[in-house]
């Protein structure tokens, strides 16, 4: 009995989906727009999250050694840094390497190279670059540096004063933008939900007489509701397919420029890694929106005398 009813509900839902003409198109169109807005903002938020992570990781610190430093002192200092749990990794650059890098970087700007020659052969200090897990959490690094400064081993670190202020600001702005992205995404999702709910309500309003007739010939409420809810689920399902079919090629095409803008080399690795869960989430969301809209929209017309 239950399965007979279920198969009748499914068949009836499919039939009225096919016969409903432009209302079907309108409802699916709304669904597509809703899902596209939601996925657009979701992806944007992910990009901002990734981008700000990368800015954070770029906020490394270079500490320059005094010219008089010995190799034991360098090892000593490096060990002291490594002992701090906030340090992700350290990279040593010798004075010779620094000069070679400088030459390489400015090989097409002879004036800058000349300046280096004129200032004496070994004017670039050796340095150690510190990367943090989180540039906002730097443990006891400052006191370590101060200690070695008094021992006359190192100079001021680069990550101080102006540079630190800029990096801090970028990280802060990224945080705010990320939050704003989610807020906007939820607001748009909310608006779209209301619009789609109304579209489905209109579709059902146009068929309220049908609902009345079904009641008059002795159909139970859930037997009437079933096909409408199933139809809503189809709207959601097809809407999802169409929105994915539009969204993904769009992102793939603009992928490189987006990557460059956010300074991310592999956002599409991220998307690709999560592709199936993203698609599944969209299907669930779309179908759920369809089902809930029909369910609540039809309730009004199911009241018996």
């Amino acid at each position: 009995m239950f399965f007979v009813d279920l198969s009748r509900i499914v068949r009836s839902g499919l039939r009225s989906f096919a016969r409903n003409g432009w209302l079907t198109v309108a409802a699916i169109g709304m669904m597509v727009i809703t899902l596209m807005i939601i996925s657009f903002f979701a992806i944007l938020s992910l990009l901002i999250a990734e981008g700000s992570d990368i800015v954070k990781k770029k906020a490394d610190m270079s500490i320059y050694f005094k010219a008089t430093v010995t190799s034991e002192q360098i090892v000593q200092f490096e060990d002291a840094l490594k002992n701090d749990s906030s340090v992700f990794k350290i990279t040593f650059t010798s004075s010779e390497k620094a000069i070679a890098d400088y030459r390489e970087m400015y090989k097409f700007r002879p004036k800058l190279l000349e300046a280096l020659e004129n200032s004496g052969s070994n004017s670039l200090p050796s340095s150690v670059q510190v990367d943090f897990y989180d540039p906002e959490k730097q443990g006891n690094i400052a006191s370590v540096i101060d200690e070695f400064k008094t021992k006359n081993i190192v100079d001021h670190p680069s990550y101080e004063g102006q540079k630190k202020a800029v990096v801090d600001k970028i990280v802060k702005v990224a945080g705010i933008t990320k939050k704003a992205g989610w807020v906007l995404a939820s607001v748009f999702a909310g608006i779209s939900l209301i619009i789609i709910f109304n579209t489905v309500r209109l579709a059902i309003f146009a068929r309220r007489e049908e609902i009345e007739i079904m009641q008059l010939v002795g159909a139970t409420n859930w037997f009437i509701r079933g096909p409408f809810v199933f139809e809503g689920a189809i709207y959601g399902f097809i809407g999802t397919i169409v929105s994915i079919a539009i969204t993904y090629p769009l992102f793939s095409l603009s992928g490189t420029s987006i990557s460059q803008f956010f300074g991310i080399s592999n956002i599409f690795n991220f998307l690709r890694l999560n592709l199936w869960s993203v698609i599944l989430a969209e299907f669930l969301l779309g179908t759920l929106i369809g089902i809930l809209s029909s369910f609540f929209a039809i309730r009004k017309y199911l009241r018996l005398a």
Partner: protein, 226 residues
């Protein structure tokens, strides 16, 4: 089969559609209810299939007291009563076949039995060739015959017809009445409202005249007199 006990229906705006109606309609009867528009005929019929509810009094249908019936029981009551409407009330998105089958599907009848019954009932009303058409492709008379097919396909004990010929020309109207008489001969109780004097006088059946919500006349072989 159908009892009305001091049935009164008042609307919140003060109109009284039915006033102290006492009626007994016996099994296998063919009853015509006549009266001016607004006399309360439709309300009386609606109270039988619970599309309306009396404010006072009791109605029994097939031994069941409708006052005690829960809302969730209404669909099951309606499966035992076939209803034919003046405006046909066919499902516009469903074919003639599907319209006739719908009531049975809703009642949970096995598909095999439905496939067996629908062609037979369409043959009875003479619409076998229109099974795959949609209601808007049919004439008024044809649509009403679909309405009758749908109403009787569940083999109800009672058939209610609210002005079934109201929108039809005399020839089609007569075809509908002949169908109803045939269904009555098979043993179904038929309760019909109409404004058609010619029909009422010709069929020589019981006529109940309603005037301003009250039973004005109740004659075994009645005539149309308002």
């Amino acid at each position: 089969m159908i009892y009305f006990e001091k049935v009164t229906r008042e609307y919140p705006n003060g109109t009284t559609a039915l006033k102290d109606i006492n009626l007994h309609i016996k099994p296998k009867e063919f009853v015509t209810i006549v009266g001016t528009s607004g006399a309360g005929k439709s309300t009386l019929l609606k109270c039988i299939y619970m599309d309306d509810k009396p404010t006072h009094g009791k109605i029994f249908v097939g031994g069941v007291d409708l006052t005690n019936l829960k809302k969730s029981d209404i669909p099951y009551l309606r499966r035992k009563i076939g209803v034919v409407f003046q405006d046909y009330k066919l499902l516009p998105q469903k074919t003639i076949y599907e319209n006739a089958a719908f009531a049975l599907e809703a009642a949970g009848m096995p598909t095999k039995e439905i496939k067996n019954r629908v062609p037979k009932i369409l043959q009875l009303v003479g619409l076998s060739s229109k099974a795959e058409s949609f209601p808007n492709e049919l004439s008024g008379g044809e649509q009403q015959r679909v309405g009758i097919a749908r109403a009787v396909i569940g083999q109800p004990k009672i058939l209610i017809a609210d002005e079934p010929t109201g929108n039809l020309d005399p020839k089609n109207a007569w075809e509908i009445i002949e169908l109803l008489l045939k269904i009555n001969q098979y043993g179904t109780t038929v309760v019909m409202t109409t404004h058609n004097r010619e029909i009422v006088n010709a069929i020589k059946k019981r006529v109940i005249t309603i005037n301003q919500g009250r039973v004005a006349k109740d004659q075994e072989i009645g005539r149309y007199a308002i």
